[in-house]
């Protein structure tokens, strides 16, 4: 019982803080943070745990968003079914490309993913323009039916829903961290030869991790689609391909709460800085360089040990420390 409480305490604390921030901050901001952190979680898992950097996350985001959008625009009205279909389409896309991609080395992997994002962009913008309405995008906000328990058409209830989804995602990833599979992922990042010796297949571990991470990304895409009520090719634009990577680094690579902290900081800075000087790329770019040179720990990676020292009451480290330099 006590152990279970300890296991859940971190996530509960994090999400009650996030829910509490709703009181002080405007709703669109908090919703953006929640969805963005789910979006980043997939990338963070790939980069921090499996050692794959992906500049192509928008492709999977678009898979989820368009899966949802097609259903809501052409076929049905139930947003829950839409989200389910979005996640499914993300699953299908990553199952198709996964077996090809995970064989590649990390640097090639990053670039092939970027290429996929570009392909999906032009696919949605030009080739499938009859179905996707090209740059105008699909508008289906009015198509979404109200649902009895949590009405996703109302921003307030959508926020509760997104928070619950994020909570489930985090519990799932925390569970993964503790499982044998999580250990295998770390092992395939740090020393793939040893993992093979123990008897696991690098390929299968990577494929599973790839599919899990990108299905999570597709879930974020589906949530975006429901929240905004429209989807356009802009969602997979190559110039936004690095957003999740930046947020991952900002928050702290491979940490469990890094994506939340990173998404919070990133969205906040984007809002504040674009209001102040209207030129936030400058700031984000140099912040990224600074964080990398200062030890690539990110905000949460720096805070975490200090917080633990502060609350030194036998609380075990929430995540396996990721300070070992992996070199090949």
């Amino acid at each position: 019982m006590l152990n279970a409480l300890r296991w859940w305490s971190g996530i509960l604390l994090a999400f009650s803080l996030l829910a509490l921030s709703r009181v002080f901050l405007p709703l669109p901001f908090v919703i953006e943070v929640v969805i963005f952190s789910i979006y980043t979680m997939g990338c963070s898992f790939l980069l921090g745990r499996v050692g794959f950097i992906s500049f192509g996350q928008p492709a999977y985001l678009a898979a989820g968003a368009y899966g949802t959008a097609f259903y809501l625009f052409y076929f049905g009205a139930n947003p829950y079914v839409g989200i389910l279909l979005g996640v499914l389409s993300g699953l299908v896309v990553s199952l198709i490309v996964g077996p090809l991609f995970v064989r590649l080395r990390s640097d090639y992997f990053a670039l092939v993913n970027l290429a996929l994002a570009v392909i999906v962009y032009y696919l949605m913008q030009k080739v499938l323009a009859d179905i996707t309405k090209g740059d105008n995008g699909l508008w289906f906000l009015t198509n979404i039916a109200s649902t009895p328990v949590l009405d996703l058409t109302r921003p307030n209830q959508f926020f509760v829903f997104a928070l619950l989804v994020a909570f489930a995602v985090w519990a799932f990833y925390k569970y993964l961290d503790d499982s044998v599979f999580g250990a295998c992922c770390l092992a395939t990042k740090i020393n793939e030869d040893k993992l093979e010796f123990i008897g696991y297949s690098n390929y299968r571990v990577r494929l599973l991790a790839f599919v899990i991470a990108n299905t999570t990304t597709a879930l974020a895409g589906a949530l975006y689609a429901i929240y905004l009520g429209f989807v356009s090719p802009e969602i997979t634009s190559p110039s936004r391909a690095a957003d999740p990577v930046v947020v991952t680094i900002l928050g702290g690579v491979g940490t469990l709460y890094g994506p939340i902290v990173g998404a919070f900081a990133y969205t906040g800075m984007k809002d504040v800085i674009s209001k102040l000087i209207g030129n936030w790329e400058l700031f984000i770019g140099f912040l990224l360089v600074f964080i990398m040179l200062a030890g690539e720990k990110g905000i949460w990676g720096t805070l975490q040990p200090r917080l633990e020292k502060l609350f030194l009451r036998g609380k075990a480290a929430t995540t396996p420390a990721d300070d070992g330099e992996t070199r090949r």
């Binding site: 970027l114 190559p238 990224l288």
Partner: protein
């Protein structure tokens, strides 16, 4: 069917695009081969080259002067970035340099927006002359761009094969530790290579500017293509870069003649096919980070 005139102008267009891609990709390729870094900030030097060309040609009236100025400023910026940032990250893994240089690229785009604003700006074409090839009028400027690319290839080849520094760079691509053991200042070698790469990217930007509009996002727009060139050719191979640059140029150009959206997509399909058949690219060796 395509008629001959369209085909010829398509091929010339592809050659000039390929030349630009080659000039940019050669820097990335050299940096990867010698220093084992993925230097996304080459795209920043490309944008800088293009913007300086725009400003100088506006001020002086000569585009060629602008291109020279663009090369110089791009080279100086590359030197500064190498000294302040890359010096500290040569030791780290590949993804590290990839992320850091992406930060530099984004930050640099911010700086460009600060100085020049976000509005795309046109650069005049230096010569409007056209010459007749098999009954098709071809802009001379595009041919000049192709010629410059081949001159650079020749120059790089001479530099790498006929000078001590060049030979040291080639040896460094094979094995850096041994070169260091011979008493050659590897750090200086890295700086020289990086500045050459940056200057060539600046040249690519300056030459490309009259063909397109210069805008702050221009680096990001060609990013995917340049990487594709490097990957298809094989990271670290100069000859592979030349071959794949012209392949990609032709695929972009002729693809768009067949079916317009193909221009952007076809090269990526080609890249995926090549990677699946030969995961190290056409001329790439199985280089691993030591």
């Amino acid at each position: 069917m395509m008629d001959a005139q369209l085909l010829i102008s398509g091929v010339i267009f592809g050659l000039s695009i390929g030349a630009i891609f080659f000039l940019m990709a050669i820097g990335l390729s050299l940096c990867f081969g010698l220093m084992r870094i993925i230097s996304l900030d080459q795209l920043l030097y490309y944008s800088i080259g293009a913007y300086i060309t725009y400003s100088l040609s506006l001020a002086s009236g000569s585009v060629w002067l602008g291109v020279l100025g663009g090369m110089a400023v791009a080279g100086i910026t590359a030197f500064a970035v190498e000294r302040f940032v890359f010096l500290r990250i040569y030791e780290r893994e590949l993804t590290f340099s990839m992320i850091t240089s992406f930060g530099i690229l984004i930050g640099g785009i911010g700086v460009i927006k600060f100085f020049w604003g976000v509005v795309p700006r046109p650069v005049p074409v230096p010569t409007l002359a056209q010459i007749d090839i098999f009954g098709t009028d071809v802009p001379v400027y595009r041919l000049i761009v192709v010629a410059i690319a081949f001159l650079v290839y020749g120059g790089i080849w001479l530099f790498l094969n006929r000078t001590i520094t060049g030979k040291a760079i080639r040896a460094g691509i094979e094995n850096v530790e041994h070169v260091e053991g011979l008493g050659i200042n590897v750090s200086r070698l890295f700086t020289i290579t990086f500045v050459i790469a940056g200057t060539l990217s600046g040249l690519a930007g300056g030459l490309h500017a009259p063909l397109i509009m210069v805008d702050p996002q221009m680096g990001l727009e060609v990013l995917a293509f340049v990487f594709m060139v490097v990957i298809i050719g094989g990271l670290g191979s100069i000859k592979g870069t030349l071959v794949s640059a012209f392949i990609v140029g032709q695929v972009v150009s002729l693809g768009s003649l067949v079916y317009a959206p193909l221009a952007q997509m076809a090269p990526f399909a080609v890249m995926m096919l090549i990677l699946l058949v030969k995961p190290t690219g056409l001329y790439g060796s199985t280089l691993v980070k030591k």
